[in-house]
């Protein structure tokens, strides 16, 4: 989506800053925000650019480096940690050939840690963009990755 289209969808008020940033970032295949975009958003809302930068750096959802089309977020908080018998993190790192925090070379996946996803009754869980996968097993993780790969190649 064009930035101007996103800006026009909201009233020109500071209170919509997070909504604008979230909406725009989600619309980009790289799931990241660039400096000139932040400046444009700041200008539009009549805010100092430094304010927008500080907001972006505060919230963990925002990134200023390009990420994959699919962001894989695994949870490692206590309820998931004690229900994880095989290490979700190691399984994902091995299958993807990257470390947590990195993006695969083809730009398809970024692997991240997330704080508790509020789905501890379904542990262990993984969030892929806006979709939640639960009761993970090694096979289930393989199937999730395969499904995304086959869909994203098309």
């Amino acid at each position: 989506m064009e930035l101007t289209a996103v800006l026009q969808a909201y009233p020109k008020e500071q209170t919509y800053l997070l909504e604008i940033l979230l909406k725009y970032q989600a619309s980009k295949p790289t799931h990241h925000l660039e400096e000139d975009e932040l400046t444009a958003i700041a200008d539009h809302l009549g805010l100092p650019a430094s304010h927008v930068f500080s907001v972006v750096s505060f919230y963990s959802f925002f990134s200023m480096t390009p990420r994959g089309r699919y962001i894989l977020q695994f949870c490692r908080d206590v309820p998931c940690h004690i229900s994880d018998t095989f290490s979700v993190r190691e399984t994902l790192e091995t299958l993807l050939g990257i470390k947590t925090g990195e993006t695969t070379e083809d730009g398809v996946f970024t692997l991240e840690y997330s704080s508790c996803l509020g789905a501890c009754d379904l542990a262990p869980v993984l969030r892929v963009n806006d979709t939640l996968y639960h009761h993970l097993t090694v096979d289930k993780i393989k199937a999730i990755l395969a499904e995304i790969r086959s869909g994203s190649d098309a």
Binding site: L17, Y59, S114, G118
Partner: protein
């Protein structure tokens, strides 16, 4: 029966997205009833109910409503806190995704009682499904004339919008939440003034948790006195428990206050897996104490939670069986707070990193007696000198284990010495 379904009564019997279903089971009738009551009558009902906030701090609802009523400045706001970031808690998600209209009805009653014209539902960014469900419900309520101007020809106006969090646990803290809605980084404010006096955009603001607001229609329906008869004399009504960890039937259960944790874990949760034993539980979430198995007969009650200086008892019970190393769990808890600290004050920003590093030495069996002393010191300082509830409760799990599991610390130090030798 252990469960007592008051606010979850309709869950499972209605289609969450159908406003007709909700109206069919008596939905929005409590709001209509409230419209026929005076504001004073509504306050009296809440006072008699002795309802306390369900988001963790347990603050009496009637006091906040009264403070709001006294404010003459307009506009006034009602905010529903649906940030639910505390590890181990998922009951607000359960309510939003299974009965969204009851939350809207609760907000309507709150708005009418306080003379508020605008509401916000602040939902954590991770809850995409909850946001979609709530958005559809809000639109249906607007269509049906429950939101907007001159609602049901009562000359009462109220509308409501959703705001998304962006991955920050501290934004559940009420002042950080206000900052976030205002389009800023979620760093807390120094209080007082409290939100009821100076809240969103510096206007009078009522902030309550999802579960608290979902209870509003129930109290209007049954009356404050009848509600206060449920539970214990000081902790009235029911509580949603998020049960997770090493237990057979994880999930959300609604029980009256005064039920023991053992009953919840064994009768509702089906106990731990075959051949396993409960080692400990963590109560309330990452910010809560870790207590040994022999204390499970303790009952769910605000006073009991306060004995642990654990104010954030939002009702999580995390069951930990005997397969797990306590120090690995503590390290995970500490990792969480290190990650989520907003960095505004030094004890929390720096202290959590230090505590995590010390805990790592206990995990790796390289800890010394000096480490134990240091950990005790740091935990106390962070607890006492942090600015907001995040820093104040970050060391709770450590402090509680230093008390109940001191031998484990000493044994680990001994193990460490043997490893070196």
């Amino acid at each position: 029966m252990l469960e007592h379904k008051l606010i979850t009564k309709h869950i499972g019997n209605i289609d969450p997205l159908s406003i007709d279903d909700y109206v069919g089971v008596g939905g929005y009738a409590m709001f209509k009833k409230a419209l026929g009551m005076t504001r004073l009558d509504i306050h009296d009902a809440f006072e008699a109910s002795k309802l306390r906030g369900r988001g963790g701090a347990g603050f009496p609802v009637a006091i906040k409503l009264m403070a709001m009523a006294k404010e003459t400045r307009k506009p006034k706001y009602v905010i529903c806190n649906a940030d639910e970031g505390e590890p181990g808690n998922f009951k607000d998600r359960y309510l939003m995704e299974n009965n969204p209209h009851q939350i809207i009805e609760g907000m309507l009653i709150a708005a009418y009682a306080t003379g508020s014209s605008h509401g916000y539902l602040y939902i954590r960014g991770e809850y995409a499904q909850s946001m979609a469900t709530m958005q559809q419900a809000i639109e249906a309520a607007r269509q049906a004339g429950y939101l907007g101007s001159n609602i049901l020809n009562s000359r009462f106006d109220f509308d409501l919008e959703i705001r998304s969090g962006a991955g920050s646990y501290v934004c559940g803290e009420e002042f950080a939440l206000l900052e976030s809605i205002e389009g800023k980084a979620g760093r807390t404010r120094v209080k007082p003034p409290f939100p009821t006096a100076k809240g969103l955009f510096n206007q009078p603001t009522l902030i309550n948790n999802v579960e608290t607001l979902a209870t509003f229609p129930v109290i209007i329906a049954m009356g404050g006195e009848a509600y206060a008869k449920i539970g214990t004399p000081t902790s009235t009504g029911t509580k949603l428990i998020s049960l997770s960890g090493n237990v057979r039937k994880k999930g959300v259960y609604e029980v009256p206050f005064g039920v023991s944790m053992r009953k919840i874990i064994e009768e509702l949760g089906g106990g731990v897996g075959a051949g396993r034993k409960i080692q400990m539980i963590q109560l309330g979430g990452a910010c809560g104490p870790i207590i040994p198995e022999y204390m499970l007969d303790m009952v769910i009650d605000f006073e009991r939670f306060e004995e642990f200086e654990s104010k954030t008892g939002a009702g999580a019970i995390i069951v930990i069986d005997d397969r797990h190393d306590m120090f690995a769990i503590l390290e995970q808890v500490s990792e969480f707070f290190t990650h989520e600290s907003c960095g505004k004050c030094t004890p929390c920003r720096e202290g959590n990193v230090h505590m995590r590093n010390v805990l790592r030495r206990f995990v790796n069996k390289t800890a010394t007696e000096q480490d134990l002393l240091m950990l005790e010191n740091q935990a106390r300082v962070i607890h006492q000198t942090s600015l907001c509830g995040l820093g104040q409760t970050a060391p709770t799990a450590i402090i509680s284990t230093l008390h109940y599991f001191r031998f484990d610390y000493l044994n680990r130090i001994e193990d460490s010495m043997q490893e070196v030798a």
